[in-house]
Structures are given as structure tokens and as C-alpha cells.
């Protein structure tokens, strides 16, 4: 991949998954870039919502944290933290939520809490924040993550945010109102999820990545979609629009 970094590739692929008019719960960093990019390119009416309670934000810079006042200046509406989770997320008003984490398994369950044992952690991570709430309530969960063996695991050390549990049948018993995981976007491929089993399935390979590479970096036997696609190469227009969003390359390393 010559003209763009793997982070740039992932952000551009993620931006393409967003539809005009959708409401997106955005985090800081890479998801923020993906949402802003989609807004500039094909989804001008994408509604950006942040878990700090800002609705229809129009940030003048890359927000430094979820509580950055630049998410408020010129926003459509602001509400309290509890109200954001109650009226918007639990209210079923959010179409897409971005999640990340230290580990993910084949059903899209995510760990952002702890490496090792919960009571005697090897590495204590920040924890759920809004992640579990987002996973439980949005129509589509999108995960952006580098494709590394330490991140893709057979079993997460701690299940912070539910994907399709240990399969879609048991997930249904939880009666979460959300639609569950929708896409996992890595530097190698885009996974979608099997409609019946809820298992992660390679849907599209990026650039010159191969199924072998994907398998090498995934500890379980990867399922492949019946119609495996080849991801469209990022266009110059996409790359330029993206770089203009992060001129200091804070996130586009």
C-alpha cells in the first residue's frame, strides 16, 4: 500500500459504510475521522452524536476528548450525560456506533476492560465507558482495529461489550434492542457477520491482502462470504479529504 497508510485505508473503508441521514455515535480519534469524512463526501446529513451529550456537532478541530467544547459550539443540541444514554441510546435513536478494544472474538464480543484476570489484572484497561451501552443499543456496531493476533482472540479475557454472545441464538435470548455487530474493519479486510450464526465472515479483502494473510492473523478458522469482494482502492479524493481533517496527523499515523 503505497500512497496511504493502513490507518487511512481503514478510516476510508469505515466512512463508506455510513449512509446519509444516519445517526452515528462517534468516539474521538479514528471513528471521529470516519464520520467527518463521510459527511464531507457522500453523507452530508450524517448526524454526529457524542456520548458527552452533543447532537449534530460541527467540530472546528479534531476534538481532544469526548468532552471537548468544540463539539458544542455550533451543535444542534446538547443534553446531560444520563440523558444522552437514556433518550438517544436506550431510546433507540442511534443507527451506528463505533467501538474499539484490546480484544475481539469471532462473534464480535469486545474486551476493553482487562488483560488477565479481572481481580488480579495483568493490564488494567480503561473499561467500558459507553461501549457496552452502545453495543447493546445501536442498530449497527462497526469496529475499526488493526489486524493483529493479540487483538483477534478465541475468547476475550473479559467480555466488556456484547457482540453476538456465543452465537446468535443465545444472543437473541438477551433481548438487547440493538442489531449487534455489523462490520469489523481491519487493515487487511472487512468482516461482516453471518446472518444465521452471527459469526465473523470475511466479506471484502483490501488492496493486495490475501485470505492466507487474514487466516495467519486470526486464531480461529475464518469463514469467508460466498461472494468475497475486493475492496475498492481509496480514491485520491477520499485521501485528500481525510488528510484535510487531521492536518497535524494526530490520528493518521
Amino acid at each position: 500500500m503505497g500512497e496511504f497508510s493502513s490507518t487511512e485505508l481503514m478510516v476510508i473503508v469505515a466512512a463508506r459504510e455510513l449512509r446519509d441521514g444516519e445517526s452515528v455515535l462517534v468516539g474521538v480519534g479514528v471513528p471521529n475521522l470516519a464520520a467527518n469524512l463521510a459527511r464531507k463526501l457522500h453523507a452530508p446529513n450524517l448526524l454526529m452524536v457524542y456520548e458527552s451529550g452533543t447532537i449534530g456537532s460541527n467540530p472546528s478541530r479534531m476534538p481532544l476528548s469526548i468532552g471537548d467544547p468544540c463539539l458544542v459550539s455550533g451543535a444542534k443540541s446538547v443534553c446531560s450525560m444520563f440523558e444522552q444514554f437514556a433518550y438517544y441510546l436506550q431510546g433507540g435513536r442511534i443507527d451506528v456506533g463505533f467501538l474499539g478494544g484490546a480484544q475481539i472474538d469471532k462473534y464480535g464480543n469486545i474486551n476493553s476492560t482487562v488483560i488477565g484476570d479481572y481481580k488480579a489484572p495483568k493490564v488494567r484497561l480503561p473499561g467500558s465507558g459507553g461501549a457496552c451501552d452502545i453495543a447493546s443499543n445501536v442498530k449497527k456496531i462497526i469496529v475499526i482495529t488493526p489486524h493483529e493476533k493479540r487483538r483477534f482472540v478465541e475468547r476475550v479475557d473479559f467480555l466488556t461489550s456484547p457482540g453476538f454472545a456465543d452465537g446468535k441464538d443465545n444472543w437473541r435470548k438477551l433481548k438487547l434492542q440493538g442489531g449487534g455487530p455489523y462490520a469489523v474493519i481491519t487493515n487487511l479486510c472487512t468482516f461482516k457477520f453471518d446472518e444465521v450464526t452471527g459469526e465473523m465472515t470475511v466479506a471484502s479483502l483490501h488492496e493486495d491482502a490475501t485470505l492466507e494473510q487474514v487466516q495467519e492473523n486470526t486464531p480461529w478458522e475464518v469463514k469467508v462470504a460466498d461472494k468475497l469482494e475486493r475492496t475498492l482502492t481509496p480514491k485520491q479524493e477520499e485521501i485528500e479529504a481525510l488528510r484535510a481533517l487531521d492536518p497535524e496527523r494526530i490520528y493518521l499515523r
Binding site: V28, L64, S65, G67, P69, F82, G127, G129, C132, L174
Partner: protein, 305 residues
């Protein structure tokens, strides 16, 4: 009811914060009352249960200073930067002392505060089910929905002993206008037994009464009012100052070791008398660089008869 509750942060903390209290310094990464945290450290409070959705740097400092025995939280990171090293050192290695944790999702923790503020017996919520959090926290329970028969996750009210809420402007009796990201400020104030308001500006009661919809905290639930400009530095205050992001990045380096952290506390917390002493140590050029361009709200008309 004394209508003038103005006092220094030193007096307010001394009057309201006791050892072993549950303390909640409000602010969802915005308007974090750093000056109150520093004063609590200076006064040597011990065995506190520190509650905050996002412990942020302020609780990292209080943990390093040995104030805390327990942390109630939902996201323990350095927002936009990475880890909170002092929190991790205490929790993973017991330095300077072991730290118990009680953990929720953001909805769970803000829901506990809402239930505390409104004295709800418990709050049913569509989250937690399927997550590994409930098995690790016996306060997250379930009830059977009497309408559908489904199992529903619930959390109990959280009622801190003391809340500190930083606001843009308040009058001398504590009626407070808050805008921008209002986070869990209102819920924290209503949930707590004692409330300390710190404000960027103290204004006439008439300014507050010109816009009562903006008053998220009414005076009669407030115990102390502190006029504390720049209270929230290095975090931000809408309309007043931007985040000192360089400090957030630097904190990651400053706290690589417990000793280097103590050095910071010696200089910036124990080494100053109060917030104005702290601000004197910050170069004017830095202060100027944090001030935003004004963007005034369009007025509305509260006329009635």
C-alpha cells in the same frame, strides 16, 4: 438559610469533606474541578471513596497522593491520551496503597447518579445483560419486568457524601448557570448530601433570574460557594478556556514512576497555597493561548405580563 455562602476552597473542603467520605467531583471531561481535588490532597484526606464516570487526571493525582481507598467509575483512561498510570499502579500493584474498584458502564454510573438525584428506588436499564460486568459487581442486579416477563438489569441509587460541581457562573447563594457539556453536574449535585459549587464568575442574582432555564443547580441544595477562576485547568470550560492539552500529554510522562508523580504533587499541589498560587506558576502566554474567541448565545425573551 444563609443566602451568602461564599468562602474559599480551603474553607469549603475543610467544612464539607471528611475522611472516608464518598466524594464526587463532577464534569464529564469538561469543567473538572481540579482546584477542589488539589485542596483535598493538601488537607490530607484519607480513605475516600472516589466516584467519577471518568476519573481523569484529577483522580489519578488523588490516588497517587494516597487519598483513596476505592474508586467507583466507568472509564479510567487519560482521555485522548491513554492510561491513567497512578490508577493502574494502585490497582495492579498496590502503590501507594491497594485500590478497590467498583465498575459500571457510563449509562450504569450516570444512571446510579440519576437515581440518587431523584431518589428512585432503583433504575431499570437496557444494558449490562451479556456483559462481564454484572458478575463482578453485585450491585448490578436484575428484576423481572412486570409487563413483559423479561429479565431487566437494574442499578441502585448513588448518593455521595459530598459533590463538587464547577460551573461557569453562580450567585452568592449558589444558583448556578451551566452550559456546554453539562455532563453529570446536575445529577451529582442533587444526589449528594453536601454540595460545593465552584464558579468561574460570581454574578448578581438578577443575572441568574434572567434565565431560570439555565439554572441546573438551585441554591437551596448548595452548602458552599467558591469563587475559583481557572478551577478546571488543565481541563476546559466552555466560553472560558480550552484544555491545556500539552499537560494531558505530559501527565503520561510525569507519572511513569510513583516518585516522579510525587515530585509533581510537591511542586504544583503542596507547593502552592491555593488555586491562585497555582495559576501564578503558569506563564501568561500559556494562559492567553487557552482563551477562546467569544460566541454569544442569541437571547430569548422571558417576559410574561
Amino acid at each position: 438559610m444563609d443566602s451568602n455562602k461564599l468562602m474559599s476552597m480551603k474553607e469549603a473542603v475543610s467544612k464539607s469533606v471528611k475522611d472516608a467520605d464518598t466524594v464526587y467531583l463532577a464534569g464529564f471531561t469538561h469543567m473538572i474541578p481540579f482546584a477542589a481535588g488539589h485542596e483535598i490532597i493538601r488537607q490530607g484526606r484519607k480513605n475516600l471513596t472516589l466516584a467519577r464516570a471518568t476519573p481523569d487526571i484529577i483522580y489519578d493525582q488523588m490516588i497517587a497522593a494516597g487519598c483513596a481507598k476505592k474508586l467507583i467509575f466507568s472509564y479510567a483512561g487519560n482521555p485522548g491520551v491513554g492510561s491513567l498510570r497512578c490508577f493502574r499502579r494502585a490497582h495492579e500493584k498496590g502503590i501507594p496503597a491497594p485500590l478497590e474498584v467498583e465498575e459500571y458502564t457510563h449509562f450504569g454510573l450516570s444512571g446510579r447518579l440519576f437515581a440518587g438525584a431523584t431518589n428512585m428506588p432503583f433504575l431499570p436499564m437496557r444494558t449490562n445483560l451479556g456483559s462481564g460486568l454484572p458478575p463482578e459487581n453485585e450491585l448490578i442486579r436484575t428484576v423481572k419486568d412486570p409487563y413483559t416477563g423479561d429479565e431487566v438489569s437494574v442499578v441502585p441509587p448513588l448518593k455521595p457524601d459530598v459533590a463538587v460541581v464547577h460551573v461557569q457562573r453562580a450567585d452568592a447563594s449558589g444558583n448556578s448557570h451551566i452550559w456546554g457539556i453539562t455532563g453529570e453536574q446536575k445529577d451529582t449535585a442533587f444526589a449528594a448530601r453536601k454540595v460545593i459549587i465552584s464558579a468561574e464568575e460570581i454574578v448578581e442574582e438578577s443575572v441568574i433570574r434572567s434565565d431560570p432555564n439555565r439554572t441546573l443547580v438551585p441554591d437551596f441544595i448548595v452548602d458552599s460557594v467558591v469563587h475559583e477562576p481557572w478551577c478546571a485547568h488543565p481541563s476546559y470550560v466552555q466560553g472560558y478556556y480550552d484544555r491545556d492539552n500539552a499537560f494531558y500529554v505530559e501527565w503520561d510522562k510525569l507519572t511513569k514512576e510513583h516518585e516522579s508523580t510525587l515530585k509533581y504533587l510537591d511542586e504544583w499541589v503542596f507547593g502552592v497555597e491555593d488555586r491562585s498560587g497555582y495559576m501564578k506558576k503558569i506563564p501568561q502566554s500559556k494562559i492567553d493561548s487557552l482563551k477562546p474567541k467569544p460566541a454569544l448565545s442569541a437571547p430569548v425573551d422571558f417576559g410574561s405580563v
